[in-house]
Amino acid sequence: MELGQVVVRATGIEKYFGDHHVLRGIDLEVRAHETVMLVGRSGSGKTTMLRCLNFLEEPTVGVVEIDGVRVEADPLHARSRRHQEQIRQIRLRAGMLFQDFNLFPHMTVLQNCIEAPTRVKRVPKREAVATAERFLEKVGLIEKRDEHPSRLSGGQKQRAAIARALCMEPKVLMFDEPTSALDPELVGEVLKTMEELAHEGSTMIVVTHEMSFAREAADRVIYLDEGRIVEEGPPEQVLDAPREELTQQFLRRFLRDTGA
C-alpha cells in the first residue's frame, strides 16, 4: 500500500517520572497506511512513548500532532480545560489497545462498541449499532455481541477491544503489547486480526515483543533503548541486519531467551 500523508508526528518528546528520565528526545513520524512497530527491552520507554502520543502520560516536553490536531506538552497546566479538550481531540483520532484489553465488564460486547460513538460522537444509535456489527463481523465476534466480556476468552476480548476502537473510526490505531497477557495458543487469532488491518491499509503503531510478527507485518521497525531511538528502518534491516551494536545485542539476547 502506498504511504500517504503524515498522520502522526511527535517531536522532541521527553518524559520524566520524578527524576527518572524515561524518554530522551524522541521524534516520530507515521504516515497513512503505515504499520510501525516499536521494539526494545522492557524499560526502554516504548510503552511510555505510545502513552505519550494520546497523553495517557503527559510528556514533560514535546509536541504531538495527530491528523492535524497539534498539542504541545504542558505539564504545568495539564488539568486546564483548554488543554484537556485538545487532548480529547487527539484521543478521538487515535484508537488505543491495551495489554489487558480493558473492556467495560458491566456492558455487553455491543454496548462496549457503541458507548463512545453514541455518547461522545453523538452518532444515532441505530447507525452506531450497524457500524459496531460490521466491525464485530470483521473481527469474527458477531455471535458474541450480546455477551459480557467475562464470557469471552482472552483472544476474543482483545478482538472485541479492537472492534470497539474501530467503531470510533480513528486515524491511527495504537497497540500496547496487545498479546502479552494472552495464553500462547490465543496469540495467533489476535495477530491475524492485526495483520488483516495492516493489509487493508490501517495506520498502526504497535509496541510488541513478537519479533516474527514484526518481521511479517511491519513496514518499519523502531528499536528503542533507554528512551532513545537507536535504529529504525524496514524489518529486514533492523531485525535481520541491524547496524547498531545495541540492536544486535538486543536481538541476540532475544533469540537466545525465546529460542526463536
Binding site: 484521543r91 480493558n102 458491566h106 466480556p149
Partner: protein, 269 residues
C-alpha cells in the same frame, strides 16, 4: 500417573471422600441447629419458670409494638437511600482535586465520624430550635441517620471507586470520553457493584441504630416498646418483644443481603 485400572478404583475413592465430606458438613449444620434450639428453649424455659411469659400481655400490647416496625423500616429505607446519595457525592469530593470539594467532603466525614450518632440526633431535634430551625422528629431522625451513615459510606464508596482498575478509566479516556462521562458511565457502575455488599451490611446495622431516634420521640419500635412497658408495668415483656422483632427483621434482610452478595460475586465482572 496411575494406570487405568487403578484410576478406576481412585474414582470410587474420590466419590466416597466427597460423600463423607458432604455428610460431615450436614451433621455439623444439624448439630449447630440443635445447639440454637437448645439455648433458645432454655431461655424460654427460664422465663416461663420465672412466670415472665405472658401471652395475654403480648396479645394486647404486641400489635402496638409491632406497628412500630413499620416506622423503623420506613425510617431505615429512606435514610439508607439518602445516605447512599450523600456517599456518592462525598466520595467524589474526597477524590476531587478541587480544594473546595475536597475540603467540604473531608470535613463532613471527619465531623460526622468524630461525634456520636446520639449527639447528632439530639442536636438536630433539641439544639437547632434554639437557632429558629425546627425540624419534626421523624425528619430529624432521617437527617441524622442519613448524614451519619453517609459519612461512613463515603469512605466505602471512595475505596470502591479506587478499586476499579485504572485501565478502565484509561480505556474510557482513550475513547475520547469526558471526565464526567468516564465517572458516571464507566467507573461508578463498577464501583457500585463492589460496594453493594457493604451497603447491605450498613442497612442491617441501621435497622438497629434507628432505635436511637426513640430518644426524640419518633414512634418506632423501641419507643413503642418502652411506652408499652411503662404503661403496663411490664418492661421485660415489652423489650423482649421489641428485641425479637429487631432480630427477625435483621434475619430477613440478612437473607436477602446474602443472596444479593452471592449474585454480585457471580455477576458479569
Amino acid at each position: 500417573m496411575t494406570s487405568e485400572g487403578i484410576s478406576g478404583r481412585d474414582d470410587r475413592i474420590v466419590q466416597r471422600v466427597q460423600a463423607a465430606e458432604r455428610a460431615a458438613l450436614k451433621w455439623f449444620r444439624i448439630k449447630v441447629a440443635l445447639v440454637w434450639i437448645g439455648l433458645v428453649a432454655t431461655l424460654v424455659l427460664v422465663l416461663y419458670l420465672a412466670d415472665e411469659i405472658d401471652l395475654e400481655w403480648t396479645a394486647t400490647w404486641g400489635p402496638l409494638i409491632l406497628d412500630g416496625a413499620r416506622t423503623t423500616i420506613l425510617l431505615t429505607v429512606i435514610s439508607i437511600v439518602l445516605a447512599v446519595m450523600l456517599a456518592v457525592l462525598g466520595a467524589l469530593g474526597r477524590l476531587s482535586s478541587n480544594p473546595v470539594a475536597y475540603g467540604v467532603a473531608s470535613l463532613y466525614v471527619s465531623l460526622v465520624r468524630g461525634t456520636p450518632l446520639l449527639v447528632q440526633i439530639s442536636f438536630l431535634y433539641l439544639a437547632l430550635p434554639q437557632l429558629g430551625v425546627v425540624i419534626p422528629a421523624f425528619e430529624s431522625g432521617v437527617i441524622a441517620l442519613s448524614f451519619n451513615y453517609g459519612a461512613y459510606l463515603t469512605e466505602i464508596f471512595r475505596a470502591g471507586i479506587q478499586a476499579v482498575p485504572a485501565g478502565q478509566r484509561e480505556a474510557a479516556q482513550a475513547l475520547g470520553m469526558h471526565e464526567r462521562h468516564v465517572m458516571r458511565r464507566i467507573v461508578l457502575p463498577q464501583a457500585v457493584r463492589i460496594v453493594i455488599p457493604a451497603i447491605g451490611n450498613d442497612f442491617i446495622a441501621m435497622i438497629k441504630d434507628s432505635a436511637l431516634v426513640s430518644t426524640i420521640a419518633v414512634q418506632e419500635l423501641l419507643w413503642r416498646a418502652e411506652r408499652a412497658g411503662r404503661q403496663s408495668l411490664n418492661s421485660l415483656q415489652a423489650l423482649l418483644v421489641a428485641a425479637l422483632v429487631y432480630w427477625v427483621l435483621t434475619i430477613i434482610f440478612s437473607f436477602f443481603q446474602e443472596r444479593l452478595e452471592r449474585r454480585m460475586a457471580r455477576g458479569d465482572r
